[in-house]
Homo-oligomer: 233 residues x 2
Amino acid sequence: MMSKLNGLVRIAPVQSSKKPHCAVGQSTIRRPTVCMTRDSDGLSATEEEIMHATHRALVNSGYAELSISLISDELDKAKSTIYHYYDSKDALLLRFLRFTVNRFEETINTSIGDHPKEDLNHIITTLLPCDLTEEKRQLHSILVTLSPQALEQEVFREQFTEIDARLSTIIEKTVRRGIDANVFRAADPAHVAEYILATIKGTMYSRLTTNREAATVAAKSSLSSYIDSHLIS
Amino acid sequence: MMSKLNGLVRIAPVQSSKKPHCAVGQSTIRRPTVCMTRDSDGLSATEEEIMHATHRALVNSGYAELSISLISDELDKAKSTIYHYYDSKDALLLRFLRFTVNRFEETINTSIGDHPKEDLNHIITTLLPCDLTEEKRQLHSILVTLSPQALEQEVFREQFTEIDARLSTIIEKTVRRGIDANVFRAADPAHVAEYILATIKGTMYSRLTTNREAATVAAKSSLSSYIDSHLIS
């Protein structure tokens, strides 16, 4: 199970030599990622298998092709098994979103430590990797694809609300640790976190929906400047 | 025609007293908005009527209900008139997006002047108004709703690319004017523009797809701090 989980939310290595202009912050030294060894989702074994099958189907076939049939092929069980737990593809993807954020959160929590600046850069680079692998692109695409559902359906709004709140909390805690350690200047950690998250999300959406690759690099570069000049004491 | 155009992209007044924490920047003094008096879309009279009918249908009925039938009702012409110009609702909405951005751009270009800091705040407040009117919500919702199309269809990607490029250029020119006038510090105007645009877009998307209203206020407040401390000389 551990290797599967590791595969799902593997942290992209920082590209320090190939694309230095894309890296956030000056320090690109990373400690090795510690994998989480347990699952905190409270999912049954079958549900967890469905989550992993969804992940494999997504990476192998892409979002546009994703279907309950493809997922059941990856699961090697009948579609009725999936429908026993999830009424629709959207319901399954909604749960998969949460599952992915849980994995992401666990990985971040176990891989960040006592270096708030490096930890913050690590979080940003994880959410906005220099090289967007096909795996990450498919996962980010789910966010873009499910967003319109959140305009009309409260259950989707709640899921997006929870995802943003959790990402924001991770950033906020890191900023707060930095302030407490005098690595960062005094600032409102919650405000800074929302600001960084908004910039990351805007960059993530633009990266997927436009052909403006240079804009991604520029936005990340300015985010790095902001952290260096505004946050670093 | 002028009043229609004015109605389409009316600039929301800055909420200086009700929600001061939401306003961007310190200065909330605005010159009156100058309305554009001509159309630069190169649309035929009928196409322009279709655009205005789409706008009215959107504001009156909301995005979820929007249909070619509703638009043709507003147009007071047969649906075949619309299909003569646009193959599908998506094709029409894609054109409507460009039409709206054209109007926005013209209004901004005629209402901003020789005060780069106020002009920049004005652009941000126009894209991220404190009070999101139903009209603005519907227009922003089109962006969220059409985004998934851009993941797969190049024609949508190109439209989103153009919209972002034009918004970025407006911000960049304003920043450049500020630097030239020694109102802003020396900085890379293109980088700053992409950064501000990314933050605006992330905030705009989160505002529509989550229940985190305080996050919007926090992100705007931090954007204001960034401009004050990073950009203002």
